[in-house]
Symmetry: C2
Subunit: 254 residues, 2 copies
């Protein structure tokens, strides 16, 4: 174990750059904070570059942490790397997992088209994992997966389910070549989600908070689904809508 006493330490300054997308992309590292996320990352055997704690008692044996990567620091150092108001005195630097860019276009997938809010993206990944989907595909123009807010909102689900960046138009072709139905979401020319059967395999495309799924994507889908709106709301929150649709399509009866 090592000690770092100052937020101005050059190593801390390097890690602070991981708060930006550029810093993450240049190093393949990202920051997580709080005991829950550290535990989920350890369980998923993510590789830790560093674990920073303020007190040795925070170190849980089950994390199986290589002591050479553990740093004892003070609260100021934690605050420097944390993006939340009340960091729990626990921050880690974790290696991104190299994911195959070849998606076996089989199974049950959530495809995300240009969703902007990191909390929405994170919640959607959390729900996809909970619902037992095969994976999540982020199209161009969605928020970066390793954004701190996204990772916090996933509650660790991103360590347990493949989250892949890909061109959605191309991916949809691959699903359809494998005879796997691709469902878009739209209000026009669409079927109520209540009138759809559960699907052994599927791809579900959800889209941008204001504009929904892009037209060129919708026109490629086998069928578009909608959720009936009875009140005066113009739409549902995209993470809520995705949750309703994933649980409608995925067979989860035991």
């Amino acid at each position: 174990m090592k000690r770092i006493e100052s937020a101005k330490n050059p190593q801390i300054k390097q890690w602070k750059k991981l708060q930006t997308k550029k810093g993450r992309e240049q190093t393949g590292l990202f920051i997580i904070e709080g005991a829950h996320l550290v535990e989920e990352a350890a369980k998923a055997q993510m590789k830790f570059e560093a674990l920073l704690i303020t007190d040795e008692s925070q170190l849980d044996k089950r994390w199986n942490m290589d002591k050479r990567h553990v740093y004892i620091v003070n609260g100021t150092v934690i605050k420097e790397l944390s993006e939340t108001d009340s960091p729990q005195g626990l921050v880690a630097i974790v290696q991104m997992r190299a994911l195959s860019q070849n998606i076996a276009a089989r199974g049950q997938w959530l495809l995300i088209d240009r969703v902007q809010d990191p909390g929405n993206i994170g919640t959607m990944i959390r729900t996809a994992e909970a619902c037992g989907l095969t994976g999540v595909i982020l199209g161009q123009g969605s928020v970066d997966l390793y954004n701190g807010k996204v990772i916090r909102a996933t509650q660790g689900a991103a360590f347990h389910i493949p989250v892949i960046k890909a061109d959605l138009l191309q991916v949809i072709d691959e699903f359809q070549a494998n005879n796997i139905p691709v469902f878009g979401t739209a209000f026009e020319d669409a079927t109520s989600f209540r009138d759809i059967e559960e699907q052994a395999q599927f791809a579900l495309v959800v889209g941008n908070e204001g504009q929904g799924v892009a037209k060129d994507i919708l026109s490629k889908c086998k069928q578009n689904l909608y959720i009936p709106i009875i009140g005066q709301a113009e739409s549902l929150n995209v993470a809520v809508a995705s949750g309703i649709l994933m649980y409608a399509l995925k067979p989860t009866r035991q």
Copy 2:
């Protein structure tokens, strides 16, 4: 129309206090920002104490705004009252609507037990309104409805559906006295939401992000529901779970 040129104007200082719960409770006023929320509030005939705009062209005739309540201000004044990074140059001070504290315990209601995140509460109100529920009841210990983040996440739904503060234990007794089934949410002693029929009338109780619904409330419910979790997640986000359950219980087939 009047003009206010300085963020230090005493009236602006008074309104700034509405960013706190105490300030809102003392005056019965709250702040909204952005054209969409102003439009929703106007459509719902909420009473405007003031509408602050940076440019007269922002005034939409359909809002039917009493010109005596319109203030032309500069961007600094807007920023002073706004809680977002990119206010759209449009802020309004609106009167809370006096809601009857006598809930006719009939219809379809969402009951919220100690949910802490303002974004979650706002999203749940938005979903309840979209789903056509009768109203939402906030128990003790949930975030204040007029918190700026709650109102923004509702996207205006709070102007279209009753949102009432009440003692949940007492309210549940009233529903049950009227033979309206009250469904809790829990993982133990619970039924999968897939095995429940749509209900003409119901109350659905959802709870705190970490702890769920309080035990004394659960023990009063007619039946507890769960959403199957296939992955490694411990739970779903409460707004997503509420959305899935509201749409499962509410008859929305046309």
